[in-house]
């Protein structure tokens, strides 16, 4: 069966007509709802929000960013490459010189340097690192965004629960957002061709009244069809349609021009910067999970040039996001995660590139219940293997869940089968939790 999403497949292949044909029945008073959203975004509301809701921004560094050119430099080693390590605001912790801005903000961030995830294939590794475990043959697990949408979304929310930006085409199909067995209700709103969800707009030639009447008709027909039938698929589709009313009202959140120019300038003009700024707008308005995919880090050739180009952008945007959240009083309630499907080989190939490497790489977590300034995990002098505090995908996810106040051992049920959020025996890394 094909995946169901608010906006069609991850390739955004559902056209406007098809989308509105399915969802246009959701009559909605756009103006009224947008007023509510503006109120949600007002500074005074932040205090109320942060008491009740944690949120996550995942910076998905697709293709595999190099740990050696970011969070785990090995200066002077034959594998270390040309870049130096620089001191940070945490005594004894150094990161790549390509990240001078983050170096001044490491007190907020935890580095996990001991990831050993065993899989160096883009596609299957991305699936694992989006879910914290491998799918079973007959069971598709929900990814991090879907679980957090389920756990952290508010019932009366007027905003999407899970938004995913992935504008570049390379690797997009390898790491689609996927709600797995949780169904379409928790599927991501995928933004692939633009930063703006064009399909949530009501067509100009359909009046509000038409919308309302179509929605009512769909409800009637849907209820008649469901009567006497029982299907998780039907139920999840109906729940998704019921959410359309709110989703359609959230369009202004995606409009980056609503931000003051000085804020936009602060983030910078790149696509990644704009998407992260929109992500901040979304979490501020209560969206529980936003993934900003930044492809493509797969530097088999010219690794150092690629990272010279891309890491400063990551450094600047991530540092700006931290500052922005902090100034808004949100950093204790919004978690920022950097993650890839894997890291890159310590060995440098003849094209001055680094290849796929899943045996000793890094991720970071900032904010919420994470101990800022902590480093967990140690790799050897050349970065070839983890020598202490190894972390796998499951324990990374358990740590994220626990930091957000979610019990990783909580069960979902597929039929009568209990499915814990992480596999049995996997535990959070207590050392990095506050």
């Amino acid at each position: 069966m094909s995946r169901s999403r608010f906006c069609g497949s991850h390739e955004h292949d559902m056209n406007r007509r098809a989308f509105l044909g399915a969802t246009g029945a959701a009559g909605v008073s756009l103006a009224a709802d947008m007023t509510q959203l503006n109120a949600l975004a007002a500074p005074g509301v932040n205090d109320a929000l942060k008491k009740t809701q944690k949120r996550v921004i995942l910076l998905w560094l697709a293709g595999g960013a190099s740990q050696l050119e970011t969070w785990d430099p090995k200066p002077g080693a034959s594998t270390g490459g040309p870049f130096r390590a620089i001191k940070t605001d945490v005594p004894g912790v150094a990161i790549s010189e390509l990240m001078p801005k983050m170096a001044q903000r490491m007190k907020n961030t935890c580095i996990l340097r001991g990831l050993d995830t065993k899989n160096g294939d883009h596609g299957s590794a991305a699936i694992t690192m989006m879910r914290g475990r491998r799918n079973e043959a007959a069971l598709r697990y929900p990814d991090l965004g879907a679980v957090l949408a389920r756990e952290m979304a508010r019932a009366d929310s007027k905003v999407p629960d899970y938004v995913s930006f992935y504008t570049q085409t390379e690797g997009r199909g390898m790491a689609p957002g996927d709600s797995g067995f949780l169904g379409a209700r928790y599927a991501p709103m995928d933004l692939t061709t633009s930063n703006y969800p064009e399909f949530i707009k009501r067509l100009a030639d359909i009046s509000d009244l038409d919308h309302k009447e179509r929605s009512d008709l769909r409800d009637v027909l849907g209820k008649q069809f469901v009567a006497g039938r029982s299907s998780d698929t039907m139920n999840s589709q109906n729940e998704a349609y019921e959410r359309v009313r709110g989703i359609m009202s959230s369009e202004k959140l995606f409009d980056v021009t609503q931000e003051p120019q000085k804020v936009r300038d602060r983030y910078g003009p790149t696509q990644f910067a704009e998407q992260v700024l929109i992500a901040r707008r979304l979490v501020e308005a209560g969206v529980p999970f936003v993934r900003v995919g930044r492809a493509w880090w797969d530097s088999h050739g010219q690794n150092f040039e690629t990272h010279q180009e891309m890491v400063p952008e990551l450094d600047h945007v991530m540092a700006t996001l931290i500052d922005d959240l902090k100034e808004r009083g949100l950093l204790d309630d919004v978690m920022i995660v950097t993650l890839s499907e894997f890291g890159r080989t310590p060995g440098i190939n003849a094209s001055l590139g680094r290849d796929h490497f899943a045996s000793a790489w890094s991720s970071t977590i900032t904010g919420c219940g994470i101990k800022g300034g902590s480093v967990y995990g140690k790799t050897d002098d050349k970065g070839n293997k983890v020598v202490a505090e190894q972390v796998d995908a499951g324990s990374l996810f358990a740590t994220i869940y626990e930091a957000l106040g979610i019990n990783p051992e909580k069960n979902y049920y597929v039929g009568s089968r209990p499915i814990p959020l992480v596999n049995p025996g996997i535990h959070a890394i207590k050392e990095v939790l506050k």
Binding site: G63, P75, G76, S78, G81, P82, F83, R84, T167, Q168, T169, E170, G268, P269, T270, Q271, F272, R294, A295, W296, D298, S299, H300, G301, Q302, E305, T306, Q308, E309, M310, P312, E313, I348, N349, A350, S351, L352, G353
Partner: protein
């Protein structure tokens, strides 16, 4: 005397190395060479020694990407942004200069040995007095950002044979030509095909101008790099050379490549101008010989490693190439 025929090129020696060698300078008329390496060190070596064992001279704090000889001074530069002067008779480092705020890509000396030039990713081309280490010119003609708001890089620099002109080439395919005495830009050329910006699939770039060489008469400027790349994860674009009438800023010859993929990292003209040679690589390396006047590729030869730099003797009878874990010596004529 006519230059040797490229058809006579043959491998004479090769040495494996535990490091990547980025730069070579050869003391004219001798077999003494100086190497800049990925272990942050500068070495001296004797090409005729029974056992090739480079001797460590001193260290930088990062990759050593350029070495040049100016009379009896060896000047090296690296990703640490520093230039170091070493007296090759005593082996002493006599001067260290914080030359650039970003990574130094190349260091060259003027033909008369009086000037040294360094280029770096701060997009500065700095001209130094080789004897005193004093800054003579700080030449700025390359933009710090690409058109897509990412940092640019300044990869290539060369002197004209008479020492009057310098050319510099950057990541976006822009070449600036400078009057050395006046310290002013007097020309520019564009080779945009050498820069691939992937705005849709991968949202970053690859390529850039990696080598430059004035013809012996100083009228033509050869520019080396790589053609457009489909998958920028790899150096899969064809090795590419363009030749310009630099005063007019006009391309006069184009060699888009048909055999080897990768970057042309070094270019040199035959002493009589009858041919142009380029070397570079991707996963493997190559030599490419061109008859520029006839717009014809003369020879394309595989080399055992990705070549980062070579030194060709004044009579063009020997080429010593350095690169990924290997050094080779080729003979001509």
């Amino acid at each position: 005397m006519p230059s040797p025929n490229p058809d006579t090129l043959k491998l004479a020696k090769d040495f494996s190395q535990p490091v990547i060698v980025f730069g070579i300078a050869r003391l004219t008329g001798t077999d003494a060479v100086y190497l800049g390496c990925s272990d942050f060190k500068v070495y001296s070596a004797d090409l005729t020694a029974t056992k090739f064992t480079p001797k460590e001279l001193y260290s930088h704090e990062s990759y050593v990407t350029g070495v040049a000889l100016a009379k009896m001074n060896l000047i090296s530069g690296g990703y640490d942004g520093k230039l170091k002067w070493c007296d090759i008779e005593t082996g002493d480092v006599i001067r260290t200069v914080d030359a650039h705020s970003k990574w130094i890509r190349k260091v060259i000396a003027s033909p008369d040995g009086k000037l040294v030039v360094s280029i770096a990713d701060d997009m500065a081309c700095k001209v130094w007095d080789a004897a005193t280490g004093k800054l003579v010119h700080d030449l700025r003609g390359h933009k710090e950002k690409t058109p897509h708001d990412f940092i640019s890089m300044l990869y290539a620099v060369t002197f004209s044979d008479d020492g009057k002109h310098l050319a510099t080439g950057d990541k976006t395919g822009h070449v600036a030509v400078w009057d050395v005495k006046a310290g002013q830009q007097i020309g520019e050329c564009e080779a945009p095909v050498m820069y691939t910006w992937d705005k849709q699939q991968r949202l970053h770039s690859i390529g850039g101008i990696r080598s430059l060489a004035f013809s012996p008469d100083g009228k033509q400027l050869a520019v080396g790099g790589m053609g457009k790349v489909g998958n920028i994860d790899h150096l899969e674009g064809k090795a590419r050379v363009e030749v310009f009438d630099w005063k007019a800023g006009k391309q006069t010859a184009e060699f888009p490549g048909d055999k080897f993929a990768g970057l042309v990292n070094k270019l040199a003209w035959a002493p009589d101008g009858s041919w142009l040679v380029g070397a570079g690589g991707a996963g493997e390396g190559f030599f490419l010989f061109y008859d520029v006047a006839a717009k014809k590729t003369l020879r394309q030869e595989k080399v055992m490693m990705h070549v980062h730099e070579f030194d060709m003797t004044d009579d063009a009878k020997e080429i010593v190439s350095v690169g990924h874990n290997r050094i080779t010596i080729h003979k001509l004529g």
